[in-house]
């Protein structure tokens, strides 16, 4: 048995070697397909790793309260595109001051918007974040220069602003920003601080923002609701208890009697849940792209079937001769199947090597660009690529091989 396989293998190599260029071109489809799968899986894993580690850097001990009702694991209703206005500034206050939620360290409220900011002749469009004085504590942010606004300024509609690092650079360049007066949508604000550079975390550029006291921001935006509340918890172990406590507190605040959660006009999520959701999304994206790459494997497979059919036709006399000398249908089928599998496996191995190389270059490039990008090759993706390569060889090689095996020896011998 082993000898027979070895024999088919040597015969296959000889046959492929005698048509080197054609064999390589046939392999190309598989090389590209397998290479793409490896690269996409690797880049996907690298990107996922980057996003998740950035989110983790925000802190995994955060609980988010978003307006509107939603199911546990699903998307929040705010993502449907409608503004939901069920959270108010008082909710932030009540959670902050509630003695029944002992695990909360600090609570921050948020409103997001966009605006044009001007200083002298400089103008810049950026994100505006209305937030509470507790922002730095909740988000683990750090001040580079000046200070953050106080609770008093938050309550008193003070016209003070803290700049993200990029905004400061865009407007002020090398000169000092603290103490300067800027105009945001025709309201004058005093710059009281600049935040330390933080980068992009979970699609949000923390440096391209201006932070304003939340009540001031609401007045400017003409709203009185809150877009998001974040609560920092003392320990991840207390998540469930804290979430339950927050729900009870907000139901009390909103006069909701139903404790089942069905009537809630808010949703509470932990950052662990958010991580889970994001992992789910990035996984889905990764597998979708992998499936697209796998399509090129399908095309490559069809190419192999085509070449194998040509090869069977070209070698009809050889098949006839082998049959005359005693080869049976299975010998011939085995030989051609082995050739197809050999092409796809060799193509797969080259594709894996190429894919690993490209993934490595991408990770090096990303690191040069300043991302904390990990070079990740999943052993499962290599195994997957190998199994798929063998599978494609067997699947697309079977029809030509069977055709060869079934050839009538005398017709094959006489084939011109």
């Amino acid at each position: 048995m082993f000898q027979a396989i070895l024999q088919s293998f040597t015969t296959s190599i000889n046959a492929l070697w005698s048509n080197k260029v054609r064999s390589f071109l046939t392999m190309l489809g598989i090389i590209i397909g397998v290479g793409s799968v490896i690269v996409i899986m690797s880049i996907g894993a690298g990107a996922q790793n980057l996003i998740l580690s950035q989110i983790e850097s925000l802190g995994t001990n955060l609980i988010a309260v978003i307006p509107g009702h939603s199911e546990e694991e699903g998307f929040a209703s705010v993502m449907s595109g409608f503004a939901v206005t069920t959270l108010k500034y008082d909710d932030v206050q009540s959670l902050r001051d509630n003695r029944d939620i002992p695990n909360i360290i600090e609570v921050a409220g948020y409103n997001k918007g966009f605006g044009s900011v001007k200083w002298r002749s400089e103008s810049y469009n950026t994100s505006l974040t209305g937030t509470t004085a507790s922002y730095l504590e909740v988000e683990s942010g750090k001040i580079e220069k000046g200070r953050f606004f106080t609770k008093e300024e938050e309550k008193n509609l003070a016209r003070v602003a803290v700049l993200g690092n990029d905004v400061k650079d865009e407007l002020f360049g090398q000169s000092d920003a603290v103490g300067q007066r800027i105009k945001i949508s025709n309201y004058t604000f005093e710059v009281i601080g600049v935040l330390k550079e933080r980068g992009v975390v979970a699609f949000e550029d923390y440096d391209d923002q201006i932070f304003l006291p939340i009540k001031t921001a609401q007045r400017m935006m003409g709203i009185n609701h809150i877009g998001l509340i974040r609560a920092k918890i003392d320990s991840e172990e207390n998540f469930e208890k804290a979430i339950a406590d927050i729900k009870i507190a907000l139901r009390g605040q909103h006069n909701i009697k139903d404790q089942s959660g069905q009537s809630d006009d808010f949703s509470v999520r932990s950052s662990a849940q958010a991580l889970g959701l994001l992992t789910m999304i990035t996984d889905a994206l990764k597998y979708f792209l992998t499936a697209m790459a796998a399509l090129s494997l399908l095309v490559g497979g069809i190419g192999i079937m085509n070449i194998m059919l040509i090869s069977v036709t070209e070698r009809t006399r050889e098949i006839g001769l082998r049959k005359a000398l005693g080869a049976n249908n299975f010998h011939i089928l085995g030989q051609f199947l082995m050739e197809a599998v050999f092409i796809t496996v060799l193509g797969g191995l080259i594709g894996i090597a190429g894919g690993i190389l490209i993934s490595f270059l991408v990770s090096v490039g990303a690191q040069i660009l300043g991302y904390d990008w990990a070079f990740l090759i999943l052993p499962s993706s290599i195994l997957f690529a190998l199994i798929v390569s063998i599978g494609i060889g067997l699947f697309f090689g079977f029809y030509p091989a069977r055709k060869a095996g079934k050839l009538n020896p005398i017709k094959a011998l006489r084939y011109e």
Binding site: T11, G326, H331
Partner: protein
């Protein structure tokens, strides 16, 4: 009277080709061949001699009639059983040699052993038969590097490598000059004296006369089946039919 075992025995063998308009290539052909015989099948083109050889060589199946090889009815055998019989019992020599171009002389000769049950010492066995046809100096040559006569000797070696009971030679000298042709016929004669059964399909009288028996065919039928006595250089014919 003791019954002699025939190597080949055909009764009323028929072969028709075509689905719509049918052509009868063989019509009720009956004869037998004993082990060790040297039989030449002659006839003009279209007489059915090649068709007969293909059926006898188990490369094709008859449309009707009976064919017994070594006493076994081959009509009922499957494709793979026929392949095994071809491998173990039959050797072929073709007019156009039918050698693999990308394989060496040695590998060409060893080719039938790949499909054999006994795969041991393939190269050694191939070398031995190549020696017997005088080609031990060409083992590692490719087939396009040797002459036509040498190629046919490679084909003979390949037919012998599995120690076949019968060798079918289809116009073995057809593509050769007369000198090489004569050399090939000498080898076939020698093999016959060593005990090999040889069935030769030819239209050349000088090659057919090497045989002990000549079967003449025309329009798919046997028109004569004669024994050729080669004693003291005189060919005396003993007409059987």
């Amino acid at each position: 009277m003791a019954k002699t075992t025939n190597l080949i025995e055909v009764k009323n063998l028929r072969r028709t080709f075509g689905d719509g308009v049918q052509t009868q290539a063989l019509r009720d052909v009956s004869f037998s061949v004993k082990p060790g015989e040297f039989v030449a099948i002659m006839g003009p083109s279209g007489s059915g001699k090649s068709t007969l050889m293909h059926i006898l060589g188990l490369l094709d199946r008859a449309s009707g009639g009976e064919y017994k090889f070594e006493g076994k009815n081959v009509n009922s055998l499957g494709d793979n059983e026929l392949a095994l019989l071809r491998n173990e019992k039959i050797g072929f020599i073709f007019q156009s040699f039918n050698l693999l171009q990308r394989a060496t002389v040695l590998k060409n000769v060893a080719l039938p052993l790949i499909y054999s049950k006994n795969k041991s010492n393939r190269d050694a066995r191939a070398k031995k038969v190549l020696e017997s046809v005088g080609l031990s100096h060409r083992l590692n040559y490719f087939t396009n590097q040797i002459s036509g006569g040498e190629r046919q000797r490679v084909a003979i070696a390949r037919a012998l490598v599995n120690n076949a009971s019968v060798i079918f030679a289809d116009e073995p000298t057809g593509n050769l000059d007369s000198k090489s042709g004569l050399q090939i016929m000498k080898i076939l004669n020698r093999l016959n004296t060593e005990g090999h059964t040889i069935i030769l399909v030819t239209h050349e009288t000088y090659t057919a006369e090497c045989a002990q028996r000549i079967i003449q065919m025309k329009d798919g039928e046997i028109i004569s089946d004669e024994k050729v006595e080669k004693r003291r250089g005189i060919h005396s014919k003993d007409v059987i039919k």
